[in-house]
Assembly symmetry: D2
């Protein structure tokens, strides 16, 4: 069983009627229900909980953390960001969704500005697989549509992904690298673009398939932690 924690800032869903209509229990509950329990043991955590629900104990018991945030990035405590970062370095997988591109943890892991173009215009997004050998593309059609989404456009200010899995086409004329993977420390990071709070994206079966594939891909590999610091020679060194 992969232990998954779905983190959501859970703010829009308390205050914005349009969002409440789509996600009455919050985006985190929709994702939790959507990914199901086949191989996954899922809990949720949100901003307003003590320590944002991300205690040392919760993180130690999380294989893969899913992150959705938007309007409250600045309210995430730096100490918790450091804690999540350290846990990724130690092997926890991290899946960052949509507006999470501007979260503190994603920017810290990327080392860049993580900015992009955007537009709210109810337009069509078509997500193309450009890496059909990748496990995150398993079981998906070669493209799928989201009839109404927010646009994100290039240039997306991220490091070149280790692997580029999806590229989005937008009706208004833009493209976006919408499925990207990186290794950081012993951890794996997957960014997936869709999921504006006013659209029912996290009920879409293809989107849920991508997230489930992402969880499996990001699960810790059982690697032995490297030792660093002062190191004795393994071979004889000759005096010079």
């Amino acid at each position: 069983m992969v232990k998954v924690t779905v983190w959501n800032e859970f703010q829009h869903e308390k205050s914005n009627a349009e969002v409440i209509a789509v996600y009455p229990d919050g985006i985190h509950e929709a994702i939790k229900a959507g990914i199901g329990t086949d191989g996954f043991e899922v809990r949720t955590a949100t901003l307003d909980e003590p320590e944002h629900g991300l205690t040392e104990e919760v993180l130690a018991n999380t294989d893969v953390l899913i992150w959705w945030g938007h309007m409250a990035h600045d309210r995430v405590e730096d100490e918790i960001v450091e804690r999540v970062h350290k846990r990724v370095m130690n092997g926890m997988g991290l899946i960052v969704l949509h507006s999470g591109h501007f979260s503190k943890i994603f920017k810290k892991l990327m080392g860049t500005g993580c900015d992009l173009k955007w537009r709210e215009a109810n337009e069509r997004e078509r997500i193309w697989t450009v890496n059909p050998a990748h496990p995150i593309a398993a079981g998906l059609p070669e493209y799928f549509n989201l009839e109404r989404e927010e646009m994100y456009g290039e240039h997306f200010d991220i490091p070149a992904p280790d692997e580029l899995v999806f590229v989005s086409w937008f009706e208004g004329g833009e493209v976006f690298r919408s499925g990207c993977t990186w290794h950081r420390g012993q951890g794996k990071v997957f960014y997936f673009r869709p999921g504006h709070e006013t659209f029912p994206t996290y009920y879409n079966p293809n989107v849920l398939q991508v997230i489930k594939n992402g969880i499996r891909w990001a699960t810790p590999s059982g690697v032995v932690a490297p030792v660093r610091g002062n190191h004795k020679p393994l071979e004889e060194i000759k005096a010079k």
Copy 2:
């Protein structure tokens, strides 16, 4: 169950007493025994069998093909090479071992010369993990030694690997990118360096762990095959 076929040219083990002493039943049987049956269903195939043991039916029933060859690369029929190549494009994983770097199938998949430095000198090889997040490094110590191996040295004439997992240190002063992955078509390719025919490398538990990890990594992901060729528009195109 992952269906694995271990292919070996099986020539040295019929003619060279030193090799026979190490691998009396052939390198393929040593690898088959070494990777075991936990999750794997393993068969073998060798050069001297009809169609080198790689019939359409065998390949269609192979998830991951392991390849060891050395002195008889030229005797592998081009038609079989094309068949294996096509199967990799369709999703079969391929693990190329040691002197397989000069096999027709590896050179075809790489597009480069695949040459390297080499030396037979019974020297120590130390294999370091440089990508501890990678599933092929699962369960391994941060380095392990092979007390006597053939040296392979840089520059290894391959495309930059998509992922570099291991780098070897050699007693005589060289380094080598000894664990490399690439995607080709829908298939995954893993090259792993060790395994000279006169040394008991394929009985080493760490080497077998790498091969088992490689099989799991290279297993087809269940991706839907892309459609190519003439394609009707998905959106209206305006006359100009």
Copy 3:
């Protein structure tokens, strides 16, 4: 001065009135005129010349080879393909344009099928820069349009590029990785998508800027050729 050879199969421009109207002297002459002489010394070569114009002497005096082909890929002699391949291994840059994706030399260098989706529909292509630090993007706007082009769509069956510079948006709903780089041996390879024979793409200033940038990027770096084969130890090896 960078020595550039523009190779074109030069077939459509002899037989098809629509193409002749656009490129009366052939695509190669349009490219030659377009890239100019500022830092470049440019010659052309075509399929119907002896040895396709790619003699040992010509290749030895070529820093960067540009390749356009389409209907006559099969008429390129294997011996010449081997010669070009060998020269790339030795450091010559290669820029493959548009339908050159199916040329023998590109397929050999890639190791994959190199197939894609396509459609001739006079539709708009918008080329986005996704790697603004890359020298091939120098001086370009963040996107530029080609009002009428042939569509190429994903999945483009290539190895993941070492660097992805451009992604195309098409009016009909597709995306395409349209500017890709790879290292092969000591040589550099750049694939650039646009350039259907019935459209005036090679007169477009942005397209010409990309090609000029590509030439500069692909110019041999002055690297010392690696030595391969049997290699004496650089350090003492202890008897075991």
Copy 4:
């Protein structure tokens, strides 16, 4: 002329007799003298200067910044780190040397811990080129030795480099990815391993060649800055 600023914390060279004997005017002056003036316009900056010598004006007039630090990483003001980071995002090249792996700016750009194994043992380092097509390898032999250096060993906790140019062999039995490149924003970053303060590494002609090659590679490409933020559609969006 490429405008280069060589930054050095310049601490060891004021207090440690062993270091003063090797670099009486500081590592920065040795590097400045070593890279010369052929195509470069070089200035220096050090920690104890106001704003560490890295004023807005200096950075605005710097194409490539070279960074050496070790014992005083913590004394570099966060504000200056932010300033350098912003300038890299806007296109400035950054070359980080040796113990600069633990500098604030490098860790911020990488997003990882950047730790490694190390040992001071006067041992031999042999630096191998693993990417002979790369311009940073121009003019170098396929390997070169530094007879006495500090050891750095894997696992080096960095993101997988976009391009791996050099791998080091150490006498005591370790390997290290010692020449690595990344793009960050519009800027280029190159990490180069050698250069312990007690050894005359920065007088070595091959080391200086690498640094000069690195400067040329990291020079801004003249890219047009991407626009980000709210973006109007380029194509008509149909009401749904």
